[in-house]
Symmetry: C2
């Protein structure tokens, strides 16, 4: 068994598990920092480990365009290329193609689009995304999916959902490296019937894990949670469940409570570079003048490198002066916060006190920053 | 004695010494990485130590404008603010004011200029640059000097050189924290008589060290070395000699051979961010396509973090993709190269084989990069 459920909450669906990959085990629930272009922006692999990262994301679309998967393959694969010897999951590029709305064409064969780098015409198909991910040596490969805008008509949802199922089958048939896991991606938009259809199609094919795609695309949180509540019971308990592109700390706590095991999001890293920092008592915008002479650490409860060594005043100065170190110190903090939150959730589940953890999580956020 | 000369070459003027500061000793000859705005761009203090840094530079002009020396003073001084507990030298701001040619006014009292940040009218005088540096807690403070353009008429040189001497005297009179060293800055342009006058004026006042200013302003290397050869014998052997804003590895080797003890330059850090890397066999422009699939480290003879863990192909990829990590990995390498070169020079002087070291240094650079 590649996935083992170790503990299950007596209330709610949260669970504590281990996913075994070619580069070692992953303790779930897990948050996966995003390293789109073979680098989690501004930080080294050593820093990621210190922040508590177990697995990071790469992106098939980006690496296919630059520097090219064949080059990375010749240099020994993505792990060696970027000096990261723990697990890597690669997104298939479905979401990136979806974002290129103006220049893409989707047909039965795959997606044709113009490169955002040089405008060259490129094609991703279910077959070549598997080839690319196998060449990269990704521990968890994702099927090519056809994303659905929000809102969308039922006709659009039907087309993309059925196409995603046909593509998933072709991905499964193409895969040759059995030691690399392959996850299917559930679509279905916000239509319960199509979500059910998508989940059943993919479960029947038999993947190593199931991703819930097409969420966090602008819909209200309530709707997102309803879709999770609908889909989750349709998925086998012996497989990990991955909620793609989600999300805020609140989203992740709610999703874990509904049985989700894996998450990825650019939020902690991107917001760090924009000066928005997550703390145990809520969010901080570091350029706010009230931090100008504040000698306290960002989050007095945090033990990350940034909080151990620097004041809010210094972090504000670096950010205002556009010093490169600002982006790194902020990223280290935000990643530590997200990864620490997952660790707290894992512990709470082990001790069967997830509901209590959740109450405390919200209680802390109601308190305002004590300056 | 704050400066001790430990070894002296039997050929040439190179010497090995120790300068004692409020935050510990500095082994000379020394290169000082530049951390203008309370940060050596892209790297942490821990990384600076790993690169071999003993002392770093801050800039009075920049810190006065942002975040303000008084704020830094209230937060415990510059060392604590930036989490660096080794020595710091602060440049006085003379050179920055000189660079603001269009918006500055120099008179007997000091320099009036418009802030490059918000256009506000500001003033630096010999007195307030000392106040600012004492508030920052700089281990080595620099006098305010009046820089001279290159080329310049003798009349201009006379005015700025004499003004620099009068300002130096006012700096010395203003200083109250005796535990912080104060260096005078020699001007005199490219006129031997005015260089001599400047050196004598300052030596008569009695500073803790002497800086040769107004070089590396566009003049040929030969002329720079002639000025050093002229000025150096006029300075007392019991004081350190600092060549400001210099330079290339070649400049530093030649200057050490002529009796210079201290250097600072943005070259390793700025060039790193532009993708120009220093190696034992010469310079590399990392974006060059010949490195696209090169799995060798930047410099096979280098043991820095970057060379231990990453290929040229990866560094090229990061640079082409404008990944923030590129700037850091390149900076770590270039600083390690500059600081390693100083360490080699110190060792060569200790073993009295500086001429041999110098021959070998040039010999390695004649060999082209073996791909």
């Amino acid at each position: 068994m590649r996935f083992q459920e170790r503990n299950r909450s007596s209330q709610g669906l949260s669970r504590r598990g281990v996913l075994h990959t070619h580069h070692g085990p992953i303790e779930t629930p897990v948050f996966m920092p995003v390293g789109t272009q073979a680098s989690v922006k501004s930080v080294t692999p050593e820093e990621l480990l210190e922040c508590g990262a177990q697995i990071i994301l790469g992106n098939t679309y980006h690496l296919f365009l630059r520097p090219g998967h064949e080059l990375i393959g010749r240099l020994g694969g993505l792990h060696r290329f970027m000096h990261w010897d723990r697990p890597i999951l690669t997104d298939s590029g479905g979401f990136q193609i979806y974002s290129l709305a103006a220049t893409r064409k989707i047909d039965e064969e795959g997606a044709t689009f113009r490169s955002h780098i040089d405008g060259a015409l490129k094609k991703l198909t279910p077959e070549n995304v598997i080839d690319i991910q196998q060449t990269l040596g990704s521990d968890i490969m994702m099927c090519l999916d056809s994303c659905i805008p929000y809102p969308a008509t039922e006709e659009e949802v039907k087309y993309h959902t059925e196409l995603t199922s046909r593509w998933a089958k072709r991905c499964l048939e193409r895969r040759t490296r059995e030691e690399l896991l392959l996850f299917g991606i559930i679509q279905g938009g916000m239509f319960p019937a199509w979500r059910e259809k998508s989940a059943k199609d993919l479960v029947n094919m038999g993947f190593d894990g199931y991703a819930i795609g097409g969420l966090s695309v602008g819909e209200p949180q309530k709707l997102m949670l309803e879709i999770i509540e609908l889909v989750r019971p349709l998925l086998p308990d012996e497989k990990p469940v991955y909620l793609m592109g989600v999300g805020t700390p609140e989203d992740m706590v709610e999703a874990v409570d509904r049985g989700v095991d894996m998450f990825d999001c650019v939020l902690p890293t991107r917001n760090a570079r924009n000066g928005m920092l997550f703390t145990s008592f809520g969010r901080i915008v570091i350029k706010n003048s009230r931090f100008a002479s504040d000698e306290k650490p960002l989050d007095p409860l945090c033990t990350c490198y940034t909080c151990r060594n620097y004041s809010r005043a210094y972090l504000r100065h670096l950010f205002m002066a556009r010093e490169l170190l600002a982006y790194r110190l902020n990223t280290i903090h935000n990643l530590s916060f997200f990864l620490g939150l997952m660790q707290e959730m894992r512990k709470a589940i082990e001790e069967d006190r997830f509901k209590e953890f959740k109450r405390e999580f919200y209680r802390k956020r109601e308190k305002t920053c004590s300056n």
